[in-house]
């Protein structure tokens, strides 16, 4: 499928200078590479032509994203904007907001970080306490966001804030797009378990946001963010984060054939066929204008279980078949990816709850 498009992407990937790594959509930050992707029209490629988008299908976008992650390419600089903020602006934004953001995202000039979680609002997102108060010409936002990946390199922050009364839960939330340089907005690093810096705390102290930067309707944030999460959860990054490691494990199994390793690689490959099919179904559902929240939750949960097993099989394969230089570093890369996989974008427990609830009401 899409052999021409695939060939084009592979040529761009082959010409770029980077080292394949796990989790490249989160850890591989390279604005120059993202601009290259933008030049080929692969950011915002599914957005309507009348909005300056590429007017292509989500099935085609699937081909682009999977080829990029297959290569372990550094796509973090544009990933979030392309995946969920652009589509959200497209669905809910005013014409002004679309004109301001969509072309800039497509040129890879916008790096967005997601201000969702707070210290008291993790899995329970409706407990968000960051407040936005209406002032002349806009809003003043005060609060603290946490686990904000890439805030230190972002140009813009997406912020989910409470505009209703403190106890309004799902009903009183609103989405904003905030310039990262806004006075009153500051970013503090949080090092991850190996000392890498991608997480941040983002503090907002009466940070002013003009009215035109409200995304969608005031008070409609919960509905909008739930849809957005279908985009966030339903992508190929939920099962291809450890793909470079799977390939290395397969290479080991090829160098030094072993029946049990062959079986384990085969079992993973079979699961990959199924996950990829789910991705395709998701892309088609989005092309039909649906927000497939259940399928996205299922793909995320099954995908992160798969990624975890890739690491275990790779460990086994390197032991039985021997490791080449670089293999063990890649294994470590995979190992440190695994704990976050089943938390970010919605913890597995939340996914199971979402799925069980929908099963019971089906």
């Amino acid at each position: 499928m899409q052999q021409g498009l695939r060939a084009e992407i592979r040529a761009v990937v082959a010409a770029a200078d980077f080292e394949a790594r796990c989790d490249s959509w989160m850890r591989g930050f390279d604005p120059a590479f993202s601009r290259k992707i933008a030049e080929h029209g692969w950011i915002g490629m599914t957005w309507p032509v009348r909005n300056g988008g590429g007017g292509r299908s989500n099935e085609e976008r699937l081909v682009v994203t999977e080829e990029l992650l297959r290569a372990g390419a550094p796509v973090a600089a544009h990933w979030t904007a392309d995946r969920q903020i652009g589509p959200s602006v497209l669905r809910h934004g005013t014409d002004d907001l679309r004109e301001e953001f969509l072309p800039a995202i497509m040129r890879a000039e916008v790096v967005v970080c997601l201000g969702l979680s707070e210290t008291e609002a993790g899995s329970d997102l409706a407990a968000v306490r960051t407040r936005a108060v209406q002032v002349e010409g806009g809003w003043e936002i005060t609060g603290a966001k946490i686990w904000t990946t890439a805030a230190h390199v972002a140009t813009h922050a997406y912020v989910l804030a409470r505009t209703g009364p403190p106890e309004s839960r799902h009903d009183g939330l609103t989405e904003f797009l905030v310039d990262i340089g806004t006075p009153g907005l500051s970013v503090r690093p949080i090092r991850d378990l190996v000392g890498d810096h991608h997480f941040n705390e983002m503090i907002l102290e009466s940070a002013f946001v003009p009215d035109r930067r409200v995304l969608g309707a005031v008070g409609n944030g919960w509905t909008q963010v739930t849809e957005q999460l279908a985009f966030e959860r339903g992508g190929v990054e939920r099962y291809l984060s450890t793909y470079p490691l799977l390939v290395a494990a397969a290479e080991a199994g090829r160098r030094s054939p072993d029946r049990a390793v062959t079986e384990r690689i085969g079992a993973l490959a079979a699961r990959l066929v199924s996950l990829r099919r789910m991705s395709l179904e998701l892309a088609r559902a989005i092309d039909r204008g649906e927000a497939p929240t259940r399928l996205a939750a299922e793909l995320k949960l099954l995908g992160t279980l798969f990624e975890k097993d890739v690491v275990e099989v790779a460990r086994y394969a390197f032991d039985v078949c021997g490791a080449e230089p670089g293999d063990l570093a890649l294994l470590d890369d995979g190992l440190i990816t695994i704990p976050s996989g089943s938390i970010r974008g919605g913890a597995s427990e939340i996914m199971r709850t979402v799925i069980a609830r929908q099963e019971a009401s089906a």
Binding site: V261, A267, L275
Partner: protein
């Protein structure tokens, strides 16, 4: 799922299969021509495509129907693909691939003498037919009930008949085996078995959902307990990934995608049976409860036709055959 109209009708006809008299049940599916679905009408079949055959296999699994419905269709497909008539399958039958050491062929003045001993053939019955696929000899042989010698019959854990095929007869219906037929047969069988497993998985999910909604403990329905709800979610996840795997095997048919579906099916079968029983509690392990009709099938089918391990290894060999991740990527995405 593969053919929604047929699904509804099949569930209607096969409902209550576990209590039905098997002869009556067989007559009713024969009256509908279902055992020959997926075989061209020009060859004496009922027409319909692989999607229809998969839908029937899933329905047979979902309703735990104790008849060789899709097994007969598969045997008929082999006969039709080899240019042979379907007469031997009037009371149902199976196709078996027999290795060299189990079969001896001798040309004689009266025809081809077949001497064979093939152990543990599922759905071998005195009244049924057998289609022998002989890769080394390059032959396909159709055998009717009258050709079968004395055999010992038993049952598997799902109460399906299993017999040792013992033969010494002159075969009248013999054809050359098209070399391309063998992988196509293996793929078709793997996909049909996966669909049957999917059907049984679906039934486990629906029975478990009903149970955890109806049964109250601690003053509330079981499903209100998060651990229970998450067990249910895990079952439906297996259903989802198996559905996707079978759909991919159907839409992007190849030996690789079919065996991938079969590997997923074998792994899902065990998980689903385990959780279904756990959530049903002691009631689920009684003879009286219906759950065992589907879970015993899942246990039996995990390693039937081919073992799940075999399917995993075969997929593994396939993806390790190329260089880099060429074959792995082609198998999973169709992107060469």
């Amino acid at each position: 799922m593969f053919n929604d109209d047929l699904r509804a009708i099949a569930d209607d006809v096969l409902a209550g299969s576990t209590e039905a008299d098997t002869d009556t049940l067989w007559m009713s599916v024969v009256a509908l021509d279902w055992p020959l679905v997926g075989v061209p009408e020009s060859s004496g079949g009922a027409g319909g495509d692989l999607a229809d055959a998969l839908e029937l296999a899933a329905a047979a699994g979902r309703n735990a129907s104790p008849i060789p419905l899709w097994e007969t269709g598969l045997a008929a497909w082999v006969l039709a693909s080899s240019g042979l008539g379907l007469e031997v399958l009037q009371r149902g039958g199976v196709a078996v691939v027999a290795p060299d050491q189990q079969v001896r062929l001798e040309s004689s003045a009266t025809g081809l003498r077949v001497v064979a001993r093939v152990p543990a053939v599922t759905w071998l019955r005195p009244a049924g037919g057998v289609v022998l696929v002989l890769p080394s000899a390059g032959r396909v042989v159709a055998l009717g009930p009258g050709d079968l010698g004395p055999a010992s019959f038993s049952t598997n854990v799902a109460d399906e008949p299993v017999g040792d095929l013992v033969l010494d007869c002159t075969a009248e219906q013999v054809a050359d085996l098209d070399p391309a037929l063998l992988p196509a047969f293996e793929a078709r069988r793997a996909l049909l078995r996966s669909a049957a497993i999917l059907g049984a998985v679906e039934r486990c999910c629906s029975m478990t959902l009903d149970h955890v909604r109806d049964r109250h403990q601690f003053g509330k329905p079981l499903i209100a307990l998060q651990a229970v709800a998450h067990g249910l979610a895990d079952m439906t996840l297996e259903r989802r990934r198996l559905t996707s795997a079978v759909q991919e095997g159907l839409d992007r048919g190849s030996l690789g995608t079919a065996l991938a579906a079969r590997a997923v099916a074998g792994s899902s079968a065990g998980t689903v049976a385990r959780i279904a029983h756990q959530l049903h509690g002691a009631m689920g392990i009684t003879r009286e409860h219906q759950l065992h009709f589907v879970t015993r099938r899942l246990w039996a089918w995990t390693d039937q036709d081919v073992t799940t391990r075999y399917a995993e290894e075969a997929v593994g060999r396939l993806v390790l055959a190329g260089s880099g991740d060429d074959e792995l990527w082609a198998l999973s995405t169709d992107g060469r």
